[in-house]
């Protein structure tokens, strides 16, 4: 980098030390700005996912609870939180916090991935990262341990199921990161296409082995409607697909706006801001 932000500091500092410091500060500010934009994009994505969860998911949850109550053995006791609150304010809290949290994590992953995953611009990188996030964080664990509505799932196995679910998420994310690194290593020897196919193939192979060796839990009651279970799981998948797609699109837009001006020659900061045509 040869650019100096202000002429005064440039002429006054012959040492490269302050240049490096300034560069580090500038890069750190970029990371912070991307993190903030990631959390905002996550919030927006959470709102989109909330609409899907409320209109596609909640009717199925209600049906499952109606089934649960019709078949309950010892249900009872007062409700701590009413169904109305659970399906509105409670649902919003959970989905929005989830969106912001994954938005922040994805933005930090984006800082590592930017410029290191091939010839992709800011927007394409964001959408690719979101797609990888959907796959690694949700779809791969979901195919082994799918989302269950109320009335499905034995409380006695909750501890094992929770542990295995989180294990599956961590394993899947680590494997996805490993796959990207493997693909990059193979690319000089095999070419981009073959390296990508080989790395993706190894990902599928290892995930398949994990599926085969980890225990499964099929705990739907025999009388539970198969159609309802299918619809519920499709709705859960739709919530996540909406969340990650919306995140990729919104964050890509915000990241591009942040990153693109940096490649163009900077005008003096004292000059009035010129509108950037979009």
């Amino acid at each position: 980098m040869s650019g100096c932000t202000t002429p005064a500091t440039c002429s006054a500092s012959p040492a490269t030390d302050s240049d490096e410091e300034a560069l580090l500060r500038m890069n750190s500010a970029t990371v912070r700005n991307l993190l903030v934009r990631g959390m905002l994009a996550g919030l927006a994505a959470g709102l989109a996912a909330l609409v899907v969860a409320y209109f596609l998911g909640e009717p199925r949850v209600d049906e499952a609870i109606a089934f649960e109550e019709a078949h309950a053995h010892e249900h009872g006791g007062e409700e701590l939180v009413t169904r109305t609150l659970q399906s509105t304010a409670g649902l919003s809290t959970g989905v929005l916090v989830y969106g912001v949290a994954f938005g922040g994590i994805a933005a930090l992953a984006y800082c590592f991935a930017l410029g290191r995953i091939g010839r992709f611009g800011p927007r394409a990188s964001a959408l690719l990262l979101a797609g990888a996030g959907l796959l690694a964080v949700y779809v791969v664990p979901f195919l082994k341990y799918p989302a269950n509505p109320p009335a499905v799932g034995n409380p006695d196995t909750l501890d094992q199921r929770t542990t295995l679910y989180f294990l599956m998420v961590v394993l899947s994310v680590l494997l996805a990161v490993g796959t990207v690194i493997l693909g990059k290593r193979l690319a000089p020897r095999l070419g981009n296409w073959n390296a990508t196919v080989a790395a993706a193939g190894s990902f599928v192979l290892v995930v398949g082995l994990a599926y085969a060796f980890l225990p499964s839990y099929n705990e739907a009651p025999a009388e539970f409607p198969a159609t309802l279970l299918w619809q519920y799981r499709l709705a859960a998948l739709a919530v996540q697909a909406t969340l990650w797609t919306a995140f990729g699109l919104v964050f890509g837009l915000l990241a591009e706006r942040l990153l693109t001006p940096r490649t163009e020659p900077r005008t003096a900061t004292a000059a009035p801001a010129t509108p950037v045509p979009n």
Partner: protein, 73 residues
């Protein structure tokens, strides 16, 4: 049309500069952990493990936990 085949690509397709690992790492460690704590409270608190006594947190995020795919009960 304004575009022609031989026209050089615009700046939007340029590969962005890498951010040094050292600039990202402190943010990633601190905020990564913070975000994971948030996810824990949405996804698992008062289920298999419990830091806060009672069932208030679990009941409040009950529907979100089900629809986001976490094991709930």
């Amino acid at each position: 049309m304004a575009q022609s085949v031989a026209q050089p690509t615009t700046s939007t397709t340029a590969v962005p500069a890498k951010l040094p690992i050292g600039a990202t790492a402190p943010w990633a460690v601190f905020f990564g952990v913070l975000m994971l704590v948030l996810l824990y409270f949405v996804g698992a608190e008062q289920g298999a493990t419990s830091l806060v006594s009672g069932e208030g947190v679990h009941e409040w995020v009950h529907d979100a936990r089900h629809l986001l795919g976490f094991p709930c009960h």
